[in-house]
């Protein structure tokens, strides 16, 4: 019970308000873009720029406070709880989309083809329709981009699985380096993780290009395309965020930040990375493979 240790409460916070303004501008800009107003993209960009500024500013204050020793063990625990609950909320966000996939595959598509007590749905409304998964022929074809095929699991997706799993190992190696005060191991581990992260993204992008252009598999290809792109797309967005976070952590590690007992930011990034990894495993199994 060291004397003078204190729970740090910042004096005032200016960045949150900036963040709120940025979020609002982004939302309003995006809506106007959707409605075809020419001002939309501009407002969206201003909002996004403000958002980036806010992140820089906010994290900068936190890093300065952390490095100047204002945070005690209790503050550190608050951060840990906060990050843990945040990741839980992300899990639930993905759960909504996995739920939609489950519902489409096991309920709505078979029902449209007459399963359960839905014989009349099939007979009256969609007499031609047959349930298959992946769903390439839809109940109605008008107004949809009919896909010619899907991305097979055991090609690029399997490779991507290997890449992400490996990156889970490299970040653990980096963590060991940090715990054992081996800075070069920390940095090399992080470099490898970041590289694998961006490699994953590159492969994902080429896979998308192939699917969209060659296979005509788009968001408008019915429920298969909808769930495929929503799940992999949100996952890809999370990988991007995670890779950016890890890059920041890498630069901080190179600048000499973190000690073996005070490195919450590193661990938070690692937790986040593992979370992204686990989501991918779910995707690989339920979206690509089964």
């Amino acid at each position: 019970m060291a004397q003078g240790q204190s729970y740090y409460v910042p004096h005032e916070a200016r960045w949150p308000l900036v963040g709120s303004i940025a979020l609002t501008l982004m939302a309003v800009g995006f809506i106007n873009f959707l409605h075809g107003a020419s001002i939309g993209p501009f407002v969206l960009l201003v909002g996004a720029a403000l958002m980036v500024t806010m992140m820089f500013g906010w994290f900068r204050s936190v890093i300065i406070e952390s490095e100047s020793g204002k945070y005690d063990a209790q503050v550190d625990r608050s951060f840990r709880w906060g990050m843990g609950w945040f990741i839980f909320s992300e899990v639930m966000f993905f759960a909504a989309f996995f739920g939609a996939l489950y519902y489409a595959r096991l309920h709505s598509v078979p029902w449209l083809a007459g399963e359960g007590n839905n014989a009349m749905t099939h007979a009256l409304l969609w007499p031609e329709f047959e349930a298959t998964w992946p769903l390439l022929t839809l109940p109605a074809s008008e107004g949809f981009d009919l896909a010619k095929g899907i991305v097979p699991a055991w090609g690029l997706p399997a490779l991507n699985t290997m890449i992400l799993l490996t990156s889970g190992v490299t970040i653990t190696i980096a963590h060991w380096g940090l715990l054992k005060a081996r800075r070069s191991q920390l940095i090399l581990g992080l470099v490898a993780t970041v590289a694998l992260g961006f490699l994953f993204l590159g492969i994902q992008i080429s896979e998308y290009a192939h699917a969209w252009q060659d296979l005509n598999l788009t968001l408008g290809s019915g429920i298969y395309g909808s769930t495929f792109y929503m799940l992999t797309g949100f996952h890809g967005a999370h990988v991007t965020i995670g890779a950016i976070i890890l890059t920041v952590i890498l630069f901080r590690a190179m600048a000499g930040h973190f000690s073996h007992e005070n490195h919450f930011a590193f661990e938070a990034a690692a937790w986040y990375w593992h979370f992204v990894d686990v989501v991918w495993l779910g995707l690989f199994v339920f979206v690509y493979w089964l």
Partner: protein, 253 residues
């Protein structure tokens, strides 16, 4: 017997699958006229329709319930259930009515502006009366089909057109043809209803995708389309003097 019930914004369509009869059922004009007036002056305010669903007693009836646009729900309290009408899916429910009489109900799922104005009226009649009604219906349908080939007079078209307008179009374009801008445009002075006939025809037959203006081609007969267009082009001070014949509609389809 099986009756397909299809919810539309904001009316019900009943198709007797075994008899080949099908018709729309709208809020009765008697109710609609007094909504902003004195509702207490009419009987069964908001619970009466222009064309009730007629069914025989002591017969097991299967209802196949679906919708054309948004979700509705078909509900007659005395039948003991309500069932959502979901676009793209068919829900079924059944009943067997033993007491002849009139059973009333309402749409029970928010379906847009006139959700409160799409009532249900079921007439349960004896089996003999039901047969008679079916025959009458089938004959009337045949007669209408036949009449599509002849020339219709201005008066005939206007009269029938007003009837169609007052049941089918009135919910959006209003009794005085003023609509409810900006969402529902006026017919009075409308550039479409006073402009080229083929564009007007195209709009009525195929609707405006992505708006509440549905395609009336599949809903209305040639005679009805001709009549309602003639009415729109000559009522509300539009006075174009145009006459549209059922045969014109047939050609345009």
């Amino acid at each position: 017997m099986s009756i397909q019930i299809t919810g539309h914004q904001w009316k019900w369509k009943y198709d007797y699958l075994d008899e080949g009869i099908g018709f729309f059922s709208n809020l009765a004009p008697s109710s609609r006229e007094v909504i902003e007036g004195d509702p207490r002056s009419v009987e069964n305010y908001l619970l009466e329709v222009d064309e009730p669903l007629v069914v025989p007693v002591d017969t097991r009836i299967r209802f196949l319930i679906t919708a054309n646009d948004v979700i509705h729900a078909w509900w007659v309290p005395d039948l003991g259930w309500k069932q959502d009408a979901i676009p793209g899916f068919v829900n079924d429910a059944w009943t067997e009515i033993s007491e002849p009489g009139i059973y009333r109900g309402q749409c029970a799922e928010l379906c847009g502006k006139d959700h409160g104005f799409m009532p249900i009226e079921v007439h349960a009649v004896s089996q003999a009366d039901y047969r008679a009604w079916v025959t009458e219906r089938q004959e009337a349908a045949a007669a209408l089909l036949a009449s599509a080939d002849r020339e219709w007079s201005q008066n005939e078209l206007m009269e029938r057109g007003k009837k169609i307008y007052d049941t089918t179009c009135i919910a959006c374009h209003q009794a005085n043809g003023q609509g409810m801008p900006p969402v529902f445009p006026a017919i009075a002075g409308s550039p479409v209803a006073t402009g080229p006939i083929d564009q007007h025809m195209e709009l009525v037959l195929n609707g405006v995708p992505g708006s509440a203006m549905q395609a009336f081609g599949p809903q209305l007969s040639d005679v009805d389309v001709a009549a309602v267009m003639t009415y729109q082009r000559n009522a509300f001070g539009n006075d174009t003097g145009d006459l549209i014949q059922p045969s014109d509609v047939k050609d345009a389809r």
